[in-house]
Every structure is written in C-alpha cells, then in structure tokens.
C-alpha cells in the first residue's frame, strides 16, 4: 500500500513535471509576446514633449468667463449623459444580441460565411435603431446651441448611409475572419490580426480621398507658412493643404492630418478659415497638424491598433469557442459583443494615446510657431466656439476626451513659456 502510495505520488510528480515541461514553450512564447507588446508600446509612446515636463495648474475660470464657462459645461453635460446612455445601449443591445441573435440564422439561405455576414449586419442594424434616439437627442442639443446646423432628415439619411458603409465593412471583416477560421479554427486570429492591421493601414491611406467636399487651399500666405513650418519640423516640403466645406452642417472649427505616404494631407475646415480665428491662430492649428505628419502619428496609430488587434482577435477566438468558434455563423453575435466589450474596456487607453499624440502635436506647434499667445487665444476661442469644457470630470476625461482638455493645453503653453524663459 505504502509502495503503491509512493509510486502513485512519484507518477503524479512525473506527470506534473512533464506537464510543466510541455507548457514551458507556451509560457516562453507568451512572455516573448508580452515583451514584444511592451516594446511596441514603449516605442509608440515616445514623444517630443520633454520627459518630466511639469504642467502648471490652470483654472477653467482663467480661460472662460463665468457665463461662457457655465454654457460650455451645461452643453457638455448633456452630451456626456447622451454618450453614457448610448454606450450602455451598445452593451445592452449586443449583450442581448449575443444571447438571442443566433435565431436569425433561419433568415439566411446563404452558407456559413454569408449567414455570418447577415448576423453581423443585423447586429449593427439593431444597434443603429437603438442608438437613433440618442443621436437625434445629441443633434437637437447641438442645434439648440448653434453648434450644428444640420437638419434632422439629412442627419438620419446620412446616418443610414453610414450604416450601409458599416455593413460593407463588417461583411469584409466577417469574410476575413470566417474565411480564415475555416482552415484555421483555433489560430485564425494570427493571420486575421495581420490582415486587419493591413486593412487599417490601407484605410488610413485611402481616407483622404474619401472625405467629401474638399478643395485645395488657395491662400498663398498660409501655403508659404506651411512650407516654412514643414521644413522646421524636418519635412522636405509641406504636404498638400485642403479645405473641407462643412459650414452647411456645423459651426465647430476643426482640422485634420490624414493619409499615409503619398496620400498625406492637412485638411482645414472652412469654419476655421472663415470663422472668427485670426491668422496667427490658424497658423498654430496648421503647425499642429503638420506636427502630426512630421512625427508620423498616423503610422503610430496604425501601430497602436496593431497592439490591440492581435490580443483582441485572440480573445474573440477564445470567447467564441463554446459557440463552435468563428467558423460557425452562430458565433458572430457573441463575437460582436466581445468586440464592443473589449473596445469599451480599451477606451481609456485609446483616449490616453490620442491625448498623448495631441499633446506632442501642440508642443511641436509651439516649437514651430513660437507664438504662445496665439495658442492661448486659440484654446480660449475653442471654448467659446465649440463650447468645450476646459476641465471635464475625470470619468469623462478617461472615457470621452481624445484631446487634452483646454486647461491642460493652456498649461502646456505656460510650461513651454517657462521652459523657454528658463533656457
């Protein structure tokens, strides 16, 4: 008996050692992947903003008058509630859809991939229906505050057409995932992640050509400034500058740096060029957008997407196993739920990265224009024209703010001045 005991213990020990030995390569692989992820994160997080830059405290009341501040806060409060409710609806709709969505399989005569496409499209269709009231409420609020001038019918039509675009995109995604999950039921996420990163880069490349109502900028002075700024930032020449006509729909000012390689361009909204912004403030915006381009922020965003695409695809593959994996159409509703859940969880990190890039672009713009007064005035004007709250609550900062709050941006201007004065 005792011998038997000893033998059994010895056998279990040997099996345990074999199991550990068997899992060792997997553990090493995971460690290597984690190290690669951390390395990627480290390099993407590198910034021209000096490390350890101390930002002084800037009160919201220093930027806006009491009435303006109240109006901005009141305006954003409603939009925050609208955002939270809409996010809750997303999770609820996809949660319910993950539970019951597989019933729509009977509405398809297509094969597994076609049926998967249908289920994915229906999921987004239900979401669109559920979010419609929140979107309309947001539009009503923006119209009420003269931020938007779009009428409800046009908004619904555009939203509906946007849903059509989403359908096409989601069909392509399902085609890739389920196409790969056929021959690679457990490991589709590896090539799948790579394909999605490639698609993200492709999308970033073609985006400049897809934005409507653009025309080349004709302002000779601004074009000359752009060339000077670009060279100061290390670019050979300024990328093409375009104006997007949005005045018909909104009064909010904005500018974008979009594209990769030959498709790179800076787009300035006509609400910025033809609005209440003096030339020096427009020049600061221009330098900011060129900062995005000179520091390859679009590529960084693609890289950042890659950091999440692979783990995300892996988690989806794991979560859908009990529904037969992504090879089966029935798994699609659950996959959607996992996807939006992960996106929600990753939102604070995504926003943090966005703010990080924007802060770097602000710093580059300050270094290029050396005009802190223009920057300070610009941020103040953002508060009055776009009704931006200079210091939003923390939860809103984490979940909603893709740019640093105006108070932080102004603080950076002061830090830059102090540093320059000190130097």
């Amino acid at each position: 008996m005792g011998v038997e005991h000893t033998g059994a213990r010895g056998g279990r020990g040997a099996r345990g050692r074999r199991r550990i030995a068997g899992r060792l390569p997997l553990a090493l692989l995971l460690v290597a992947l984690a190290a690669a992820w951390a390395t990627g994160f480290y390099f993407l997080w590198q910034s021209d903003v000096p490390a350890g830059l101390e930002l002084p405290e800037v009160e919201a009341s220093e930027l806006l008058g009491p009435e303006e501040l109240e109006e901005a806060r009141d305006y954003e409060r409603f939009l925050r509630i609208d955002f939270v409710l809409a996010e809750v609806i997303v999770l609820v709709v996809f949660g319910l859809y993950a539970r019951y969505g597989h019933r729509f399989v009977r509405e398809s005569a297509a094969g597994r991939i076609g049926t998967g496409m249908l289920l994915a499209m229906l999921g987004f269709a239900l979401l669109w229906l559920a979010q419609l009231p929140f979107g309309l409420a947001g539009l009503w609020w923006e119209r009420r505050h003269d931020v938007s001038e779009q009428d409800y019918g046009t908004w619904i039509l555009e939203s509906w057409l946007g849903l059509g675009g989403a359908f096409l995109f989601v069909c392509l995604a399902i085609l890739i995932v389920m196409g790969l999950a056929g021959p690679l039921p457990k490991h589709w996420w590896i090539p799948g992640g790579a394909v999605f990163v490639g698609l993200a880069a492709l999308f970033a490349f073609v985006l400049p050509y897809m934005l409507p109502s653009q025309r080349p900028l004709r302002d000779a002075e601004l074009l000359a400034d752009a060339d000077v700024f670009a060279r100061e930032q290390g670019l050979e020449a300024a990328p093409p500058l375009h104006v997007q006509e949005v005045r018909e729909f909104t009064t909010a000012p904005n500018a974008l740096a979009v594209g990769l390689g030959p498709s790179r361009r800076v787009i300035l909204w006509d609400t910025l060029l033809e609005g209440p912004f003096p030339d020096e403030e427009v020049r600061f915006v221009l330098a900011h957008e060129l900062g995005h381009i000179s520091r390859e922020h679009i590529w960084k965003l693609v890289g950042w997407y890659a950091l999440f695409a692979f783990p995300g695809a892996f988690l989806i593959a794991r979560a859908t196993r009990r529904r037969g994996g992504m090879r089966e159409a029935e798994a699609v509703p659950l996959a959607l739920f996992v996807l939006v859940g992960l996106s929600f969880l990753a939102l604070p990190l995504q926003n943090a990265f966005g703010r990080h890039l924007e802060a770097e672009a602000d710093w580059i713009a300050l270094e290029t224009t050396r005009d802190p007064e223009a920057a300070r005035a610009l941020f103040r004007r953002f508060g009055t024209t776009a009704l931006a709250d200079p210091s939003p609550p923390t939860w809103s900062y984490l979940l909603m703010e893709t740019h640093p709050p105006l108070a932080d941006r102004t603080a950076m201007v002061e830090a830059w001045e102090a540093r320059r004065g000190g130097g």
Binding site: R106, S108, A110, G114, L122, A125, L163, G164, F167
Partner: protein, 430 residues
C-alpha cells in the same frame, strides 16, 4: 380562394389582320373620342355612386350597370389598341361581344369604410396599374384620379404611353405585321395587364370592394408553346422577417458589390462564349455553368431585394439553395444565325425586362411596407414579383447565350406555383 367579381375572359385565336394592325392606332380614334365622352359621364356617375354606396351599402343597379359597361368598353378598346384582340369593337360595351371581355358580378354589399376611403385605398393599385399598363384599364400618363377627386384630363383610361402593356403592344405591332399572328405570350401578358387594369378601374368606380388581384397565377394562362430551358422554381412560404425587411436595401449592399464584380467576369465570359457558340454551335459546359450560376445569383438577389423571397441569399448562385430559384437546362445546340444576331434579337427582351423591372420596383416598395407591417408578403404581389424576376432571368439567359429559346412573355408560371385564385379556366381558346 373566392373568385374575383371582375374577371377577364379570353376567346381569341391569335390571328390578326395585317391591314387593321397596320392602321390600328388610327382605326381606334373614333373609339378614343367616344371613350373620352363616356369617361365624363362615368366620372359623374362614379361620384353619385360613391354617395349612394356610402348611404345604401351597395351600388345602385342602374349606376352599376352603366359603370360596368364603361369598364367593359374601355377594356375592349384597349384590347384592340394593344393587339390583345383582333376585331373592331362595338361602341356599347356589351357583355360577351368581344374576344377579350370582362365579366362583372352584379352589385353586392360593400363595406362603407372601404367605400369612404376608396380614393386613398386605390392609390397603390393605381400605381401598380400604371406600371403594368400605363393606367387602369390599359393606358398611361395619368389615368384615373378618383371618384371623389379631380377629373382626369382625358379619360379614365388613358393610352398616352408608359407601362409594359404599351411596350408589348409596340413590339407586337411589328410581329403581327410580319406574321399575321399575335405571339401567345404577348397576348397572355396583355390580357393579364388588362385584367388588372379593369379590376383597378372597377374598384375605383365602386363596382366592387374587392381589391384588384395582381397575381399572374390567378389567370390560368396558356403554357408556352415550347418548354422553356430556363425556368423558375418557387418554394416560399410568404413569411417575411420584419427586421430584414426594414434593412433590406442595406443588407443587399454586399450582394451588390459581389454582383458587380461577378458581372465584370461574366461580361468577358459572354464574349468568349459568343465566339465559341458561333464556331461550335453550342456553349462550352464550363462557361455555361459559370453564366448559369451568375444569372441564378442575379435571380436570388433580385428576389431578395424586392421582398419576393425572405432569406439572405448565398453568394455562389448554387441551384437549390434559394426559395426563388432558377433551373437551367444543360447546354444544347444553338442556331448559329440566332447566335450571330443575338445582340440585336435581345433588344426587345431587354425592353420588356426593363418594363417588368419597373413593375418589380413597385412590387418591392409595396412588399416592403406590407412585409414590415404584417410580416408577410401578399401572394399576388409575390407572384407578380416572381413573374418579373423569371422574365428577367430568361432575357438574360438568352442574351448571355445560355439558350437560343426566346423568353416567354406570358405569365404562365413556375414549377411549383401557389394556388391560383380562380379555379375555373378563363382562357377558352388560344
């Protein structure tokens, strides 16, 4: 199903006099003038009948007889004009006096609600009648405006253009002149369109409160003289998912993209196929299979888009995978002459397919509303959609060299049709 109170009866031998066909439009002028005058009287009678029916619950016998004669006469005239019949019609609209005639039941009780709102209820039927015939009873450009509303500028039956009936009549004019006979399919389509027009007009003029039936299967039309090599098969239970109906247009988008890509390949395949068929006298098996799958896929997605079928179709055009399916015979010998001139010979079929395409859009729009509200597609509307889809598939099959058999225009239907509305045959001779 209970038979419709307004029915078209056909006793036509398809023979046509070339002389009267050549001058048909001019010969019809006295009838058009008389019809215009009669239409004024019919308008007044319809207004009186509306009040009377609303009060009494049924149309007065005298008014009913007058309006029934008007509908009958108008059908005679448009059957003559559209070459659906040969002899010159009388001016009185007597029952049983013409090869394409209308049987109208005596006045019966009518729902006062349906009578009160008739002017609105008739609008969908008028739209469909306009797509089929160009106007209720067989005309175009305006047609009837309603029994309580403004009078039409010309007649209740206006033949000024538009509608598949006019298109078929135009094509039939050439055929009749050349052959002295009306093609069976053409005649059957004309009688179907005239029947729908007559039922719509009868509904508008308060001859009945039964809604017009758009079901081509309700008229047991003659089978095609030769078996078709491209056939439609229907296995649809009429149930519709409200959610997929609501988003049908957007759900169609991935299919549209795929179909456009496939169309590029099909275009080159047809060019290759044309040379091969011209040289060898038959299509290559592989090319035939490829093009058959392409046209079948087009049939599936058309049926889906226009609510003729419910489930989301597959992307491969595989036979037997969809409730509205296409059966295509294997490649057979084809006449080299027909192949050589195929592109020209296909023009009339393309015109008719285009006209029926407009009808299909109307079917889709109405089907969308009805499907969204009731979760079902009306059988008549579905069958009309199937008919349009079938003709389009046959026209494409002909143009794309799958067969040299000309598409059949008649509403003779598919291999597993739904139950016909009328049990008794209405086509006495063909």
């Amino acid at each position: 199903m209970e038979r419709h109170p307004i029915r078209v009866v056909v006793e036509d031998d398809l023979d046509r006099s070339r002389l009267t066909v050549f001058f048909r439009l001019l010969l019809a002028i006295p009838h058009l003038i008389w019809l215009l005058l009669w239409s004024i009287g019919a308008f007044v009678a319809a207004v009186v009948s509306w009040f009377a029916t609303l009060a009494l619950g049924r149309s007065p016998q005298a008014l009913h007889g007058f309006l029934a004669a008007y509908v009958r006469y108008a059908t005679h005239v448009y059957a003559y004009l559209s070459l659906a019949a040969n002899p010159f019609p009388g001016f009185t609209g007597d029952a049983g006096s013409y090869p394409v005639d209308v049987e109208i039941d005596p006045p019966a009780r009518q729902s006062r609600w349906k009578t009160g709102f008739r002017i609105f209820l008739v609008i969908p039927a008028l739209i469909l009648a306009n797509a089929l015939t160009g106007g209720p009873g067989g005309g175009g450009g305006g047609g009837a405006r309603g029994d309580g509303g403004e009078a039409d500028a010309a007649t209740w039956f206006d033949f000024s253009g538009g509608g598949v009936l006019v298109l078929v009549a135009f094509l039939a004019w050439f055929v009749c002149l050349a052959r002295g006979r009306m093609p069976l399919g053409f005649r059957d389509f004309q009688t179907y369109a005239l029947r729908y027009g007559a039922q719509t007009c009868g509904y508008l003029l308060l001859l009945t409160d039964r809604y017009p039936s758009s079901d081509p299967a309700a008229l047991p039309a003659s089978p095609p003289p030769q078996p078709q090599t491209i056939r439609i098969a229907v296995d649809d239970d009429l149930r519709r998912s409200r959610l997929t109906v609501l988003f049908r247009l957007l759900l169609f988008l991935p299919h549209l993209v795929w179909f456009l890509l496939w169309s590029i390949a099909a275009f080159f395949a047809v060019i290759v196929g044309w040379f091969v068929t011209l040289a060898a006298g038959r299509m290559l098996v592989g090319l035939h299979r490829f093009l058959a799958a392409y046209i079948r896929y087009g049939t599936h997605i058309s049926a889906y888009l226009f609510i003729v079928a419910n489930p989301f179709p597959g992307f491969t055009g595989t036979e037997g995978t969809y409730p509205v399916d296409l059966e295509v015979d294997p490649p057979a010998r084809q006449s080299r002459w027909i192949t050589l001139f195929r592109i020209f010979l296909a023009i009339p079929t393309a015109l008719i397919a285009g006209g029926l395409g407009a009808v299909l859009v109307v079917v889709g729009v109405f089907g969308w509303f009805v499907g969204l509200v009731t979760g079902r597609m009306p059988e008549g509307l579905r069958n009309l959609g199937v008919y349009a889809v079938r003709y389009s598939a046959q026209a494409h099959g002909y143009a794309y060299l799958l067969t040299d058999r000309y598409p059949y225009t008649g509403p003779w239907e598919w291999s597993t049709p739904g139950p016909a509305e009328d049990a008794e045959p209405e086509v006495a001779a063909a």
